[in-house]
């Protein structure tokens, strides 16, 4: 079956530092990968949508300068949170889309704590 792994599952970083998180699709080729953030007491917000060989599309309030994404092939994507501050804490979820289906398979998330 389709599985999505995310690494690390939890991470702590000091305010002003950066951290990188990874998303790996196993058992299928992800035509696109969407990154979401769930801040405390909030729902999942779409950060950006990444499609191989296409420009990455960022949603309002999220920028490439803050959340650079690398998507080198159909099974792997990574996102970095640059200069993390308190408002960046939360659960970062990666959703991989299979083929032309609009379904997304989610990884377990990377929980970011900023000190």
């Amino acid at each position: 079956g389709a599985l999505v792994y995310q690494y690390p599952r939890r991470t702590i970083c000091k305010s002003g530092t950066s951290m990188r998180m990874e998303c790996q699709a196993v058992g299928f080729q992800a035509t696109s990968v969407a990154w979401y953030r769930q801040s405390p007491q909030k729902t999942f917000e779409l950060i950006a949508l990444s499609t191989v060989n296409s420009a990455i599309k960022y949603e309002q309030n999220f920028t490439q300068e803050k959340f650079p994404i690398s998507h080198p092939n159909l099974s792997f994507s990574s996102m970095t949170v640059l200069n993390a501050y308190l408002e960046d804490r939360g659960l970062y979820l990666c959703g991989a889309r299979l083929g032309s289906s609009y379904e997304q398979y989610f990884g377990p998330g990377t929980r970011l704590t900023v000190l």
């Binding site: 696109s32 969407a34 729902t43 999942f44 779409l46 379904e103 398979y105 989610f106 377990p108």
Partner: protein, 111 residues
Amino acid sequence: GDSVTQTEGLVTLTEGLPVMLNCTYQTIYSNPFLFWYVQHLNESPRLLLKSFTDNKRTEHQGFHATLHKSSSSFHLQKSSAQLSDSALYYCALKYAQGLTFGLGTRVSVFP
């Protein structure tokens, strides 16, 4: 912009009773895709139901929902709740190539 509203933050009920979770949406698109995801403790969200066909009931694992474009709704129902149904339930709307999520409803089923 597109949005999803789930009115209940927490639903508690006794095992065996019916459960209904409300979901309404707003979108400029005439053919919306709606989803229900379920997230158990320490797990990632898993697709439960999906629909893009107006007035057609979709079912999976005892849950069912019907997309009603006239009322912009996609309520989730189950006739008899089980202890294992305790989880977070998210209603989501296709947005571009991603999803717009509701705030989620936590369901707690007690014996």
